[in-house]
């Protein structure tokens, strides 16, 4: 059957950034409102899945820049890295640490191991799903 994908292509270019932004939004404010690393990662994965449907797996690999598997391992290492401060401080595993980095004036950048952990979850979820989808699509082609 014919494969005219103009509309899908164009639409994907519009929708994907929205989804990606929304996923970051969900990730960052997940500690206070519905969201978090899982949900954020799933939404981000949806974004790339859309892209993959529109442009194929090769193009998706290109915009991901890294192999999804590397994304996955980065996520795992991030999550593991979040245990380091507790490890160094001699506390039980996964004890949370919170820092406030002063920025300009009286604004602060709130950082915590919890956030690092959640970012790790985000990346791992994204990496996992992209591994599924990209490889499956490649095996079809």
């Amino acid at each position: 059957m014919k494969t005219n994908t103009l509309i899908l292509h164009t639409a994907a270019l519009f929708i994907m950034p929205l989804q990606l932004m929304f996923s970051l939004f969900l990730l960052l404010r997940g500690h206070d409102e519905p969201g978090g690393g899982f949900i954020g990662g799933l939404v981000a994965a949806s974004a790339f899945v859309l892209y993959a449907f529109a442009f194929g797996s090769t193009a998706t690999r290109r915009i991901l820049r890294v192999d999804p598997r590397d994304l996955l391992s980065a996520g795992l290492l991030f999550a593991l890295a979040s245990t380091l401060p507790a490890f160094l401080a001699g506390q039980p595993m996964l004890t949370a640490h919170w820092w406030e980095l002063p920025l300009l004036g009286d604004t602060y950048l709130k950082l915590s191991t919890v956030l690092i952990f959640d970012i790790g979850v985000y990346a791992a979820v994204l990496g996992t799903i992209m591994t599924f989808v990209i490889n499956l699509m490649e095996s079809e082609e």
Binding site: D32, P34, F38, V125, T128, F132, L136
Partner: protein
């Protein structure tokens, strides 16, 4: 609602098991999906269902203003959902690969390894 949902969960289990008992590998996978949904719902039901009180604290508040749904089973179910998803992805690819190498979707013809 819990008692009603108990029946629903029971039916989900029944459907899941019936599907898993079929000989087609595709039905097996559908059964697995139903099964994980059933188990997740079961946790949700037995730990109590609360209407309209999600475990979100209002901005600025340190403690909830009223009763609140139990957050713990929700966290468990969330974990279980994601795990089930990973497992399912694996299972789906497994059946496809099995179909490719064995050349049939009939589970009854996949018994060479046992005896």
């Amino acid at each position: 609602m819990e008692s009603l949902m108990a029946y629903v969960v029971g039916i989900l289990f029944a459907a899941a098991i019936y599907m898993m008992l079929r000989r087609s590998i595709v039905k097996l996978v559908i059964g697995l999906i139903l099964l994980s949904n059933a188990a997740n719902l079961l946790i949700f039901v037995v730990s109590g269902m609360t209407r309209g009180a999600p475990p979100l604290l209002p901005e600025g508040a340190e403690v909830p203003l009223g009763a609140m749904a139990d957050p713990l089973p929700q966290a468990l179910i969330l974990t279980a959902i994601v795990i089930a998803f990973g497992v399912l992805a694996f299972a789906v690819v497994l059946i496809r690969r099995a179909y490719e190498v064995v050349g049939t979707d009939d589970l009854d013809q996949m018994k060479d390894t046992d005896t």
